[in-house]
Symmetry: D2
């Protein structure tokens, strides 16, 4: 493996891995998830396991078949990916160890000879379908959507089945060759800057958060107490009073009844930052359940801006002051 | 139409409809969406349009082909249904005019003669798939999911295609007869009390919110200003300071870049309640964009509890006091 | 009376006053209160009543002997003047109609021939005494304070009684001539920029607040509910959520038991400003008792800065939006 | 000294005192301050220094002439006693080591033969005068107040000077004998339950707060940053988010210009309670200046009620959780 580029995201501190430690990802080859995994230098040369669903990927990690698994966790259109968030929220022994961004682009592929006017059924991963909503509304307003399990599987499905099932597929443009398909329309996504955020997930085990870089992110899952009306307000104040900014706040139903929520939260900073540790302590004290998913370097490497009263030196100074009072 | 049961939810005040005014729902027949539509007394005897996707349903309403459309908006496992929330958030001229609850139940269906051990690919609507996660993890851990557009379409797909594509379908148990399928396992949902919440959507036009019943809900969509860190905190305070409780708070990405959010909010009360009107005014003043989706009777008919300082009479008294100061 | 200077504080809109309508102030002549009254153009040529205590001044107003009374309400050292604040808080039918600032300066006066070393007892108004604390601590550390009812009365008392009672007085330097006293030390105040804020108080009667000038102040008294721990926090949020800044927040005991408080509040803005009216309505709804003391032009004529979401046009726009929803 | 009564307030942990360590109080003998000092068992048999003003009392403590000084800090009518609060706020090296409550009662005393109708000038300590406001307004509406330095000094002054200066005095009823005065009217205070709160003040030196009793109070002084509008709101949130209740919140001007405030705060709990320590750290980090005045047993011995999330065991549990994350 080559030396890391000076300005690249640090490699995750993965649990000790043998020479054959594998990495799992949602296949088949060619998906954006695979593209994210290609950004992990530690994964170069290791075996890669293409799996069928994210539950299988997590099982690989928990049962030791893989050292880590790559998953899409947030995208420009869907926000937090519900199924992944819920799996993380429901599985205690996991850690996010790295974050990766992949620009996404969509094309409408069809079997050679099929025209846009002939398209009645479009096979597409639901997220990709959502990302192309405006284009589809304009060009194929009454199409039926046949969901696929991944963008690449959509193209593969179209190539392997005849026109009874589907007429076109939404897929990354560069896979059309591989399946002998034609590009009916390129760049059909609603947002030209669409990006998907991926995380690399390992087993918590004895995982220690990587060192503070100053450009870190921390992910947690917090169940709200159901019996307190201002519970979310109180939760947000735990962060606001410590100057901790949130970059993701995704409500997810706890699942037992309508109206009961947990929140998946990404916050700017590292559990080793005093303000973040304090906020996590405050959240832990007031919530029935908090799950720590990890502190890890941000993919965009943007340093976290911290206002004066919330920097570590101010915390240290305040503690010294308190000590001078209680044990002068 | 029979007289309404004395304790049933009031019928929505729909826009004037001719004798042939139609209702749209996500088909085919037998879906839970159809079951929800059966609860609408005004829809009895009217034509029902089974559509292929929710965009088509909304187009029916906006273009006058239907007087209203029924859609699933929240379920026990997924929370707010992302695609529906986003369509509502992006379509200005709509109103929610009624709310309906449908208990949901899932079975694993297969072609006769197929055993559980033979199941490798399961066709299922993504939400149904998510609701059966624990059962599937225990009984078919490495299955591939083939998404379907609805629970009924999953069964239909299984019945119409051979074993190359799928071995089993997740569907409501009572449709197995209709498609000649066997029930491999019943009640496979993770939550025996699972319920889906549906809303009936009409064109805003000159729609006036129905009268206050005391057991009402109001739905809005609020874009957060991107440049203010405590923006969500400030938004929630608009409700908290008026004693307005929220029953749904679902973050949705605005869609232009990662980290920009809007919130779909259901709040207890009616726009005609003073505290709700005040809160909406406060939200409107501080948000770049607020979309009013409607005030309507709650399906569960549970009366909204309002603390003393937030009842209408206290608002009236305070206004009288202010008037006595400014124009004695 | 000359034309008002274009940039002077507008004269208060006083209740209709006959040619002989009097003004009351805490005497004797020469006090800073009299200096404040000299700033009121409407009082030129009218009879001035010098009274012995502030209760008497308010009685003059309430019983119609005076059209208004001038009182010190806040000073650099004491903050809100407790006795005045409590009288205002306990007297429902009053209005503050004008605000005036008077710079204050203190000297130590003594009978001719007395040296600083001879000073054992200092007669002084408690507020003046407090304003000279540092000087006294340095130059007369073990003096006894004999309180006076006003700065001028201190000098008068010293002049009229022999050395058994007091050796020196704290008073405005320019009164020494009048009482035949010598200046032992001038400018003995701790703060060279000390200022006292006076208010002109009239009977509420049918008093209408003067027009909005854009540089206004509003004074209220709010009793906190005793049974709610976060009551003050909730009170302050009523102002914060409407962008209303407070320039005075003075706690005063309600007086029935320790720990029960009311707050005297000066806020930036006029009751005719929408954000102020809204905040007052919110406070009124959540407090057991609110007393409106008046909206009046600020003595410093500094215009109130209002952030975008809190200006009147935004209120009007939001109301129009709400109307379009409820009665389209 | 006798054994402490089992349910009495614990004696303060005073700095080591020699056998002749003195206690200072505002005299003369017979004042309520002396009555408060009589409640301190450690002061029995020690020399008591009667001083003329509170600055002198503090100087006694700072310069070692006394081991501690007793001062009135809050009363039912005036709230926090301004001069004492300001002296404490401006003197860094002090600690409140004990709290004492004294019920107060007022009578109108006069020289024998003087009738109520003859009373034109009343000599009274300003706080006592304020506590009898309603009675005086009813029975001597146009009297002149001649301030005294203490309640007892008022009676003494009346006894020692002739009728030219004063006709009556407000004083504790039981001092009339001592000065040969008659009781013109007893129980003239507005509030029959009036109580004054005293504190015993020692030098901070190496003073360690006394042990937690579960019925403790902590006093601090906090300067607000002048440049932040919501500064008080943010300050109060530091307490509210930790479930710390405030029993005194007294605004005091910082003294350099109008509108700049500090707050004297009494909070329920002991600096050794985790929630209190956390709140103090939060306040210290966000305020330009915090002065710790002491943690000490409450005079009323009422145990502090702490909600579940704020008890020490929950703090310990949260810290253990955080440790398990950062160093598993």
């Amino acid at each position: 493996m080559s030396d890391p580029a000076p300005d690249s995201v640090p490699d995750p501190t993965l649990p000790p891995a043998g020479s054959h430690a594998a990495y799992s990802y949602l296949g088949p080859a060619g998906t954006y998830t695979e593209a994210a995994l290609r950004q992990v230098r530690a994964a170069e040369g290791a075996p890669w396991r293409s799996v069928n669903n994210i539950g299988e990927a997590l099982a690989d990690v928990l049962q030791g078949r893989s050292v880590a698994a790559m998953m899409a966790i947030e995208n420009t259109v869907e926000g937090g990916v519900a199924a992944v968030l819920d799996l993380l929220a429901g599985t205690p022994d996991l850690r996010i160890v790295g974050e990766y961004l992949v620009p996404v682009r969509f094309a409408l592929l069809a079997r050679p000879g099929v025209a846009l006017a002939d398209v009645h059924t479009v096979v597409a991963h639901p997220v990709a379908h959502a990302q192309c909503r405006r284009w589809l509304h304009a060009h194929a307003p009454s199409h039926t959507q046949l969901p696929a399990t991944s963008n690449v599987q959509a193209a593969q499905f179209l190539a392997e089945h005849d026109g009874d099932l589907a007429d076109a597929a939404i897929a990354p443009p560069d896979v059309h060759d591989r399946f002998g398909l034609a590009v009916l329309a390129d760049d059909i996504g609603d947002n030209p800057n669409a990006v998907t955020r991926f995380v690399l997930i390992a087993r918590a085990g004895s995982h220690v958060p990587p060192p503070i870089t100053g450009a870190d992110k921390t992910s947690i899952v917090v169940d709200l107490p159901s019996d307190r009306p201002g519970a979310l307000l109180a939760l947000l104040e735990q962060f606001a009073t410590r100057g901790v900014n949130l970059s993701l706040l995704q409500s997810r139903p706890i699942g037992d009844e309508l109206g009961r929520y947990r929140f998946v939260i990404d916050l700017d900073g590292h559990v080793g930052d005093e303000r973040v540790a304090e906020a996590l302590l405050g959240v832990r004290r007031s919530s029935p359940r908090v799950l720590f998913l990890g502190s890890y370097p941000r993919a965009d490497q943007r340093r976290v801006a911290v206002a004066e009263p919330h920097v570590d030196t101010v915390y240290a100074e305040a503690r010294a002051w308190l000590a001078s009072i209680t044990a002068p």
